[in-house]
């Protein structure tokens, strides 16, 4: 009985083997694996037959066992040969395949993602400031007058407050009026009130002014910088800002400083950069002057130090504020400020993820 069963099994195996050998398409590594599994696997037919040995009379077992072992050896050897042939065939097939059209378009997973130009310039700036040992500070966008104006030496009823058109925010019933910060300088006040000296910090963020025309939006971005220590001078301010501008616009970039007025700095100034479009020759971007205004700066006003409890005789410091949107426009050649806030897909997709 067992003899005929082994013969049947062997015959069926040979039939399958022949079918695989006859059909080049069917002879695959996977098909040979399947064949082996079915006949020689843990739950395969041969295993079942070996297990059925137990049901045979004791004296019949050695002969049948021997036959089964011989069969197994043969099937193992045959499948190994088949597997080798299948591999050889597969290698041949792929080697002889028709060449691909490598020009066909493809899409990466997540194609079309980009970072906003303000984020890109912000990252570039923060990388430079990090190397200079600056911390990154943050602060609230809705804040009290004290942080945005009062402690920054803006007197009440003074036109200096009108340099920045302020959005006012309805307060909690009976409480002090709040506002949307008009500059990131409020972070200076928050930081100086709590941070141990010395200070070297920058604070990027969104700011708000009640203003809207082709070159002004009611919300835009600034980065604030603050250094407070003993012996800090205006020449240090110039040094740091020059490194910054060269870091962003290249070593050939030039800076110019000229006096200006911001209530929280004295001496106060504005920083210009030699126009990156015309290299200082004068063009439409710089209105023919050869220079582009990129930010305000100056030595921290002693009144500010006094408002936050820092001894202005012992400590000096400098502060500066740059418009990130404008810097991004210059660096990435954006023509229209308003485009930055419209979410136009083609516009956004024109920026990379890393610069």
């Amino acid at each position: 009985m067992t003899g005929s069963l082994t013969e049947t099994l062997e015959r069926e195996f040979d039939k399958e083997r022949a079918a695989l050998l006859a059909d080049a398409e069917a002879l695959t590594v996977r098909a040979v694996q399947g064949l082996r599994q079915r006949y020689l696997g843990r739950k395969g037919r041969l295993q079942a037959m070996l297990e059925s040995l137990r049901d045979l009379p004791k004296e019949a077992r050695p002969a049948v066992g021997k036959a089964l072992n011989q069969l197994r050896d043969r099937l193992e050897s045959e499948t190994a040969t088949l597997a080798a042939a299948a591999k050889e065939a597969a290698i041949q097939r792929l080697r002889e395949t028709a060449p691909l059209d490598v020009s066909l378009p493809v899409q990466a997973e997540g194609q079309g993602g980009s970072l906003h130009p303000v984020t890109l310039i912000r990252s570039e700036l923060l990388r430079i400031f990090e190397r200079l040992g600056f911390e990154v500070w943050d602060g609230p966008e809705v804040d009290f007058d004290f942080y945005n104006f009062g402690a920054l030496n803006f007197p009440d009823n003074h036109p200096a407050r009108e340099m920045q058109d302020t959005f006012f925010v309805a307060p909690e019933a009976g409480q002090e009026r709040m506002l949307l910060r008009t500059h990131t300088s409020n972070v200076q006040v928050h930081g100086m009130l709590t941070h141990p000296l010395p200070i070297r910090a920058v604070a990027p963020g969104r700011v708000y002014r009640c203003d809207s025309d082709p070159t002004h939006t009611p919300m835009f971005h600034q980065i604030e910088g603050l250094v407070v220590d003993r012996g800090i001078s205006f020449s240090h301010l110039k040094g740091v800002l020059d490194v910054l501008v060269k870091g962003i616009f290249g070593v050939e970039a030039k800076t110019r400083f000229r006096p200006s007025f911001f209530p929280f700095v004295e001496p106060g100034g504005e920083v210009d950069m030699a126009c990156s479009m015309c290299r200082g020759q004068g063009c439409a971007t710089c209105k023919g002057t050869g220079w582009l205004e990129i930010g305000g700066c100056g030595m921290v006003h002693p009144n500010v130090f006094e408002a936050v409890g820092i001894d202005s005789e012992i400590y000096t410091g400098f502060a500066f504020g740059f418009g990130l949107d404008r810097m991004a426009m210059l660096k990435y050649h954006v023509q229209d400020l308003r485009q930055m806030f419209e979410g136009h897909r083609e516009f956004l997709a024109s920026f990379p993820i890393w610069t």
Binding site: G112, H116, V136, H158, F167, H190, R200, S233, E342
Partner: protein
Amino acid sequence: MRISYQWLSDLVDLSGLGPDDVARTLTQLGLEVETTESVAPIDRRIVVAEVVQAVQHPNADTLRACQVRLQSGEVLPVVCGAPNVRAGLRIAFSPVGSVLPDGTVIKASKIRGEVSQGMICSERELGLSDEHQGILELPAATSVGQAVVDALGLSDTVLTLNVTPNRGDCLGILGVARELGAKLQRKLTPDVVGGRSLGLPIRDTSLVTGQKISVRVTTSLCSRFVALYCRGVPKGPSPLWMQRRLVAAGLRPINWVVDATNYVCIERGQPIHAYDLRRLGEPVLEAREARAGERLTTLDGVERELIAGEIVIANGRGVLGLAGVMGGQSSEIREDTDEIVIEAAAFDGGQVHRTARRLGLHTEASHRFERGVDPGALEGAVWRVGSLLQAGEGPGPGGGALATVQVAATLADTCGGDGKSLQPRRIAVRGDRAAEVLGLPARTVQDALVRLGDLGFGKVDQNGERWLLEVPTWRHDIVREIDVIEEIGRFVGYDKIPYQLPPWTGRGAGAGEQGAAADRVELRIESLKITMAHSGFAETVSFPFVGREQLEGLGLRPEGLLEVLNPLAATEPFLRASLVPSLLQQVAANRRRGSLGTRLFECGRVFSGVWGNQSGLHLTARARGERRPHERLHLGAVADAPWRAALWQGAEVAADFYQMKAVLGGLERAHAMAALSFVPPTQESGAELPPYLNPRRSAVIHAGSQGVPLGWVGELDPGVADRLDLDCEAVPVVFEIDIEAWTLASRSGSASRGEMSSHRVVCRFPTSTRDLAFVVARSTPHATFEAAIARYPKRKHLRHAQLFDVYQGPHVGPAEKSLGYRFVFQSADRTLQEAEVEAELGDLRGWIEGQTGARLRS
């Protein structure tokens, strides 16, 4: 502030310096020149030409037929009616196509049969004077072809200065001239600086009338008040040269007296008001504080009610003017005015500012008072008006044409007529401190301190490095030592200060607790943004202002939002509490442009009117102790359908809940953030979700083992999508999470992935894999199985389990589904035996069936 280059050069010697040189110098001084614009009061096409022939017109007695030679040699026929036209004369020729100052365009014509190709101009036609008896005769040496405006020296350049609010003294041309003179070492024109010795002897006692005027100040909000009485003032329009200068400065000429006061205001920065004495009622002026309810009709014809404490000029007849803002109509200068009182005063800037703001009246006067006028220059200013009113006074062509008027004058001054009672401020300045703050050599600072005299600073005393200086009365911005240090820096020039990097004495970045925290948040946010971009989302930025209509379109209400009191658009007075509305708006805008599949994200603050102590990571410890409104950093994203467009490789892939969930999972893994869990809304209504989401296809997001609520993710309600002109069949998917809460949960969460495993061992032994499929009620979520497997008490070698199949269909019951799990077993110290794996698998299967009510799929 618009400044005429010509006017400026009257006040300071600018020889050898063009408008561009002046502009550059002023910008370096902190008086930024925004634009320089050439102005020519006469069309430059009107040129100097020569009359080569002038004969009697054949058909008209009073006309002459002339031949005019141009620079090119071309000779043109021109008919002219002037008696003084003659051969050899250099004249102003207005060719065909040129435009006269009054707007007349010259055309070719035939006058009584004679062709005329242009016009020979009189002074009046050129806007130079009222002279029109004959044509303008130019000197014989004038070169033919030159523009007449240049030949007459009338071309000018207007510099527009951005005068910062601290420099009220530079709101007059004299102040600007003073700065230039000091920087360039040029002299100011003495007559102008000398105050009352202004060329004309109007202080001659013989001219002083018997008219007494009396001035009085009864408020501390006016530090000085000066008035000059004048009789016999000129009437009608002011001379053309004066009008031209006022126009260059951006003012509109009105009449002789008003123009003269405006002229001096522009020249010296001192607002001046003139009253018609007869309309004053009595020759008395008093500066006092208004009483509540007093009324005044101002020059613009508006009747205004005053608030107690506002400064007014008044006398027995009532209120005459709103001090420092606008005069009153009752005593306005009219056609017949002959006797006037000219007032110059120093009013309190803060009060003028409040009044001007309250009334929305921003005038040339209020602008200057707010920034501070020079109380020491009042007397000079009123005398200057008096001298201008003397006929013929003034530079430029056309002067001297007016009939002489004798002005008689009397001065009244609350400071005794000489201003000596004004006390200039004194400031001590340390030269070494200045050198230290500016980073300049001591020698440079010493030299600059000496040169401050040119700016009007008086040296009172010097003791080594310590200088005691007297501040000029016009410099309200100089109140302490640092202000003088800025003056030194300004005059040395910021460009002379060296570039240096500061020494660093700190303990390194992140020394402060706040700094360290913020540094980490900043880095995390930057990398979260990068991961979002890699997931195919474009970062956008939008304004935070929202309106009721926009909110209601999404089923939201503005109640509880923070409100802006002075919104730019009245329709958008609220600050957003969610990033999604503007993201949807931008996606819809892209759809309108024909762009499908837009994926946008924004990282920005949201706000609400929930007040109290806030825990935001952007706040310092001190600010956390204050009562503030809710303000948090959110990350929001929208993916419009389709997720992927059809390509040659395959069909379109829809955007759905699971795509967006995968994006969030990517963020979690890439940044080792606290694990997210996605929870369906517990109520059928989906009340925990925003109303614009489809509650059947959305989830609330929790973070970490504490289940901190972060936000939600889901598909847009199809009705809302339709209202927004989005696709209601293939709706966009959105998520919004509180980044600060997630960051906090990642830091403290005990069972979060944010906690890096302290040791990671790579296992060298093989794994065994077994698959089991369970049949369970459709309503049972995968989470039930996940939880059961996680809690399996006899776990020995099970490494992990993964769902690989979800099936609903004919092979299971109608209310059932099949979930296929793949279990992976592995031992850390040996290869597992078949029997061990089978034993654990069998036990696990029983546990899962018991915990979930599922049965093994046969």
